[in-house]
Symmetry: C2
Subunit: 325 residues, 2 copies
């Protein structure tokens, strides 16, 4: 949550001279995004967000993300549309860094989603999956199941430092995923990071999804599993099955899950917890003592892993009613 690039009025005027969106009236850095800098930009023709991509971003992947946002918005899905400059480019440069200008989206994120929000989110996620259908870009999920063992290998000591004995438990999980991860479920473009702060609501309705910079091609139901973890756990670590069922119902109202997808969902949710546990564990270990910004606590996802692990023994999370899926 910071602004890493300093853009003067002259830098901005030079950038806007390459667009057909008028002159700047308001320009303010906003506290959104962790791998890029974002600015609220109001011009004589409307409101926009200028995103400047910082060092951690792989610039070669930006065309996939921007092309997807353009594709989705063109199909009526409420995501930000990249604005083309006079040459027709969605990706340009400011102060030597890649940047894009997208239209501004109104709406508020919710901090503590209720069942109605979860249902709306499920519906919005299915909408995203359907709207993205046909997008020709392809991006391998480099944080997907096939990568987790390799991600964990250098982090074993870190896991033990967090909780003695944890390393062997994680190894067991990884072996289970390797043996049981589904191969034939419907694939497509997934958001892969649709946490509450990446979703805007308006009057209680799903209003927009933002931050497509983890989007990739993977199992569609895995995206729903990411959301179950991100939206349906209570602060005390318990899993709110009412919220989960509301989300799944919202999803299925637009895109019904197959029997295979329903059956796999508890396993996919367990795996989705592993993905966020691993990246948080890595960020945790690489942050110096006393740093101003503490990364997310990996133990939050260690607890979610434990919930899913024990649910597997009981036959699943009861996501679809009183009986295991």
């Amino acid at each position: 949550m910071a602004v890493y690039t300093d853009i003067s009025d002259e830098d901005l005027a030079a950038l806007l001279a390459t667009y057909d969106i008028g002159e700047a009236l308001v320009f303010k850095g906003i506290a959104e995004g962790v791998q890029n800098s974002n600015f609220l930009l109001e011009t004589t023709t409307g409101r926009f967000i200028l995103t400047v991509y910082e060092e951690r971003v792989n610039a070669a992947e930006l065309p996939y993300f921007l092309g997807l946002m353009h594709w989705l918005a063109a199909r009526g899905f409420p995501s930000a549309t990249p604005i083309m400059d006079r040459s027709g480019a969605m990706l340009t440069q400011v102060k030597g860094k890649p940047c894009t200008i997208v239209n501004f989206l109104a709406g508020l994120s919710v901090r503590r989603p209720g069942a109605a929000h979860c249902r709306q989110l499920g519906d919005g996620l299915a909408w995203l999956h359907q709207a993205a259908d046909g997008y020709e870009g392809y991006r391998f999920n480099d944080l997907g199941q096939s990568c987790w063992a390799g991600m964990f290998a250098p982090l074993k000591a870190e896991a033990e430092g967090l909780k003695p004995g944890l390393s062997a438990v994680i190894e067991g999980d990884l072996a289970a995923f390797q043996a049981r991860w589904p191969k034939d479920l419907p694939n497509g473009v997934i958001h892969a990071d649709l946490f509450p702060d990446n979703v805007f609501f308006r009057n209680g309705q799903f209003a927009a999804a933002i931050d497509f910079y983890f989007a990739c091609n993977d199992i569609l139901a895995y995206d729903l599993a990411v959301c179950l973890n991100a939206w349906c756990f209570e602060p005390d670590g318990s899993f709110n099955i009412t919220h989960a069922r509301a989300m799944i119902a919202g999803y299925q109202a637009r895109r019904p899950l197959s029997a295979e997808e329903r059956k796999a969902l508890p396993l996919l949710a367990w795996g989705a917890a592993m993905r966020f546990f691993l990246t948080r564990l890595k960020d945790w270990g690489s942050t110096p003592e006393g740093a101003l910004v503490r990364p997310h606590d990996p133990l939050e996802y260690e607890r979610k892993l434990a919930v899913h692990r024990s649910a597997q023994d009981g036959g699943g999370l009861m996501l679809f009613g009183d009986q295991p899926a």
Copy 2:
């Protein structure tokens, strides 16, 4: 440049329930302010800024600042107006911290002001002084001339560390101010920190002044002296007399300076450089090695001090033409 207070959608809804400004449509932390957190807030009735005052702010002084902003806006000066809540209060609380909601002001700050900007700024500053006339609040300038010797006393070693021999030079300056500081110049409310990032322009015109949290009662011409230092030095350290004369001309078009004010202006500018040198020296010394945010370099103002010091020997800065004032 940061957001220090985390405000959820529920915190915001509870706050807005005490106002008559509608419901939130947009809420984003913005990278403005160093002693407070600022949020862009759009509601069903308009656009606002929510300011949350952080620990460094002396809450007892807030009524002076908010009362001044209200007074200025009521007299047509383009500063943000604090919005009253349903009880008529301009100052309220969110998450246990004092806060205020003000109307939103459009406009852009300039990074490298030209002569036309300086003229506009001079005009805007005189406007501010005239609009503030009659405001009954009083706040002693605790960063004014009578305080500088006390501010410097604990910083002598710091000054020597910056530049050997500097401590004695500063002591000489302080003695000169003590002997020569004017006692009878027109007093009033001054902004005291009207740097380019606190001024918005629109179509090249002065459009707004923000950040009144150093405002106080002091010599009016001293405020102009602060602006001469903040707006009229080139990046190479030279003083741009063309810009300075444009600023003074803009000021005098609205509020002509007396012969005594003109005569005192070079000394006031020297003193204004001391004020910012001292606070920067203090912030510089108290910032730990390796901190993410480096404070402003005190040497910038040490160089400005030197320009003003040598100009005194030559009879002043030639601010009013080819002859000393």
